[in-house]
């Protein structure tokens, strides 16, 4: 009887599925194709998590990133444990306090974890003040430890700054730089490419020549000169802005060509022509027929362009040409790691490198997934 029931139900649901498919828009078809790429979907989850955590770094970090802890300099990470803590009924996260000692033979300072004590992590605690969304004053933090105890999940730097907090704050800058720089170059690229592709003729020729010349001249010297042009006395915000501008100025040419090429090919599509012949205005042709049809490609291209920007920022800052302390970015953190000449002794300082790799990898996977999904001819 059960079997009979399922066979009776199956065709209906199959028909419904088919109908849903027929009435699915290109966006939802794209989403379906994208969801087939398991890795790309995971990459998106990771990116969302990264952005949520880094954009709210005030909340998620336990310490001020530029606060010096003289007692805990160059300290290795305190490993997070889960288990029973004295005085508490339920098992919870805890760390062992680190104790600084002098090595009996080499006389170097070193830390060891005092396994006899367990310091429980407390969640949603009050701490240093910050502003939620820049508006609401609050002191709430995601986690913290009682006063006098330490909780450096990724160790500390040469001056005793909490590396975990610095990683989050650095991520905020690095991730934003990538985003804004791509956004800026996208703006430049799409407007110039759009003008170029839609109007054609002389405007097109001029824009294309400029783009070609920009692509001919080696990027790095321009980059360097522009970066060197940032006056040393500028505020961090100004530096940051110039930085994104530099990245955008070098990055728009590729996007411009993509946009132009896509526009040119779409403009020749029969449906665009059909709209013109139906009496549609140019504005309508552009906004109803052309833009929606290349938006998905552009989104994919953008996603693939962000990692390049992040890597550029990291490299430039690493060379000391981009962002400089006290701004914290992943590139700045890595520069500090190198300056310390301590990679062998303090390997935890390289954690920002892992963050960069993870982010870039996630962007690349997500971008490739998007690109495949945007292409209706892919299988």
């Amino acid at each position: 009887m059960n079997a009979a029931k399922t066979t009776a139900v199956a065709p209906v649901s199959a028909d419904e599925a088919k109908l849903a498919y027929y009435e699915a828009s290109q966006w939802s078809l794209m989403r379906r194709r994208f969801c087939k790429h398991k890795v790309a979907v995971w990459a998106i989850y990771i990116l969302v998590a990264l952005y949520v955590v880094c954009m709210n770094c005030d909340f998620f970090s336990a310490y001020d990133p530029n606060e010096f802890h003289e007692r805990w300099v160059d300290m290795p990470p305190q490993i997070l444990h889960f288990g029973k803590v004295e005085g508490y009924r339920w098992p919870r996260f805890y760390v062992h306090p680190s104790i600084r000692v002098r090595h009996p033979v080499t006389l170097d300072e070193c830390y060891y974890a005092d396994t006899s004590r367990r310091v429980p992590l407390e969640f949603f605690v009050q701490g240093r003040p910050w502003r939620f969304l820049g508006l609401i004053d609050t002191q709430l933090h995601f986690f913290g430890v009682p006063d006098g105890e330490s909780c450096f999940l990724l160790g500390t730097g040469r001056l005793g700054q909490d590396m975990f907090s610095r990683l989050l704050y650095g991520g905020r800058i690095s991730l934003l730089v990538g985003f804004t720089a791509v956004f800026l170059s996208f703006f430049l690229g799409i407007s110039l490419g759009g003008i170029s592709g839609f109007f054609g003729g002389k405007v097109d020729i001029v824009i294309q020549r400029v783009a070609e010349v920009l692509m001919t001249i080696p990027h790095i010297p321009i980059w360097l000169t522009m970066a060197a042009a940032i006056p040393k006395g500028w505020t961090s915000l100004q530096t940051y802005f110039v930085m994104t501008l530099i990245l955008a100025c070098m990055g728009w040419t590729g996007l411009c060509r993509t946009v132009r090429g896509k526009l040119l090919s779409l403009r020749e599509e029969d449906y665009a022509r059909a709209a013109v012949l139906a009496g549609a205005s140019q504005k309508r042709v552009i906004f109803v027929h052309l833009i929606p049809n290349f938006l998905s490609h552009i989104i994919a291209t953008l996603t693939l362009a962000i990692p390049g920007m992040i890597l550029s920022e990291t490299s430039l800052s690493y060379l000391g040409l981009g962002l400089r302390p006290p701004i914290v970015s992943w590139g700045v953190l890595l520069k500090e790691a190198h300056n310390g000449q301590a990679v062998l002794n303090q390997p935890w300082l390289l954690v920002p490198a892992l963050a960069v790799i993870l982010t870039v990898l996630a962007f690349n996977f997500a971008g490739e997934g998007l690109r495949d999904a945007a292409d209706p001819y892919s299988t």
């Binding site: 000169t225 490198a353 790799i357």
Partner: protein, 334 residues
């Protein structure tokens, strides 16, 4: 025919170069401050401000004149084969380049060869094994390699090299291209051997990202070509399946890559700048960085100009190569 084409292109390149060199010269002067100020600052720090030395510098290089006059002065020297003098080192730019170019070129050429040797077979392999475990594995490795910043790789490699040397009871200084005893020495057999011992680190680091990128491009190109009907036709002729792939789609897919060799030329000098800096190599890249930071105008302009010349030559080489290997372009069809 080809000769005339090259000549025509070369003549066209002259005004382009003039324009580019002028903009470069202006560009380098763009940042506030000049070498003179840097120098005075430096002397202040040392506590000995000797204005006569500074004045001599100014009069010698017309540093008090506007930038375009300096440019003409510089160009005049260039025509005589004199690229000016590095303010910082106090040596001729030509000499510095002569010293630093050979290792730079060596690193790049070895890297390019290695990249091709690895990327071509793997790219074809990934394309043929499309959507298999092998393909996914290669894709993942490739994307991961491209996601890793070069300087991070450099740090890790250095660490590994030092660690390895220590575990074998030897000391190894991974930075630089030469051991200390060969620094500043003229080229000799021993120096070349010594360079070979050091060169693998930059080559490996530079090769990783390039190889990964190339595998992905080649894979995409070959997959595109595999769909074409002429592949099916070749198969229908009874050709061996391996030959079918090597003779037709690969041949077509590799065309644009061969022609892109020309575009690699400028990278021979600058592409590896960051890594060279990290590894502290005696190559052109770090010199460029230093000269730009110190407003060492002639040094920087000399290097950048050389890059531009290489870029233009590279594009020419690409076009010529493409016309030589792709008959469609050779005969003026589309």
């Amino acid at each position: 025919m080809l000769g005339r084409y090259i000549l025509k292109r070369a003549l066209l390149a002259v005004p382009t170069l003039l324009l580019i060199s002028f903009s470069i010269f202006m560009f380098i002067q763009l940042p506030p401050g000049s070498y003179v100020e840097v120098k005075i600052e430096q002397m202040k720090k040392e506590g000995t401000v000797d204005m006569s030395e500074v004045n001599q510098l100014i009069s010698r290089y017309k540093l008090d004149q506007p930038a375009h006059v300096q440019y003409v002065f510089w160009m005049g020297g260039l025509l005589r084969g004199d690229m000016g003098e590095s303010f910082v080192d106090g040596r001729d730019v030509v000499d510095i380049l002569a010293e630093r170019l050979p290792p730079t070129v060596a690193i790049s050429v070895i890297t390019i060869c290695l990249t091709w040797a690895i990327a071509v077979p793997f790219g074809i392999f990934a394309a043929v094994k499309k959507n298999t475990v092998w393909d996914y594995l290669l894709t993942f490795i490739g994307l991961a390699a491209m996601a890793t910043p070069g300087f991070v790789l450099a740090l890790v490699f250095q660490m590994a090299a030092v660690g390895w040397a220590e575990s074998h009871g030897a000391t190894f200084d991974p930075s630089g291209l030469f051991s200390r005893e060969y620094l500043g020495e003229p080229w000799s057999f021993g120096k070349v051997i010594d360079m070979a011992k050091h060169i693998w680190i930059p080559v490996a680091i530079l090769g990783v990202a390039g190889t990964a990128g190339m595998i992905r491009i080649l894979r995409a190109n070959v997959i595109d070509e595999l769909r074409k009907q002429y592949v099916l036709c070749a198969r229908a002729r009874g050709l061996h399946p391996v030959l079918v792939i090597l003779r037709y789609p690969v041949r077509v897919a590799i065309n644009p890559m061969i022609s892109n060799i020309g575009l690699v030329l400028p990278q021979i000098i600058s592409g590896s700048l960051i890594i060279e800096k990290v590894l502290n190599l005696e190559t052109v890249g770090p010199k460029l960085l230093m000269s730009l930071q110190n407003q060492d105008t002639y040094m920087a302009a000399g290097i950048v100009l050389m890059q531009c010349v290489l870029a233009i030559v590279g594009i020419l080489v690409s076009d010529v190569l493409l016309s030589m290997i792709d008959p469609r372009i050779k005969f003026g069809a589309k």
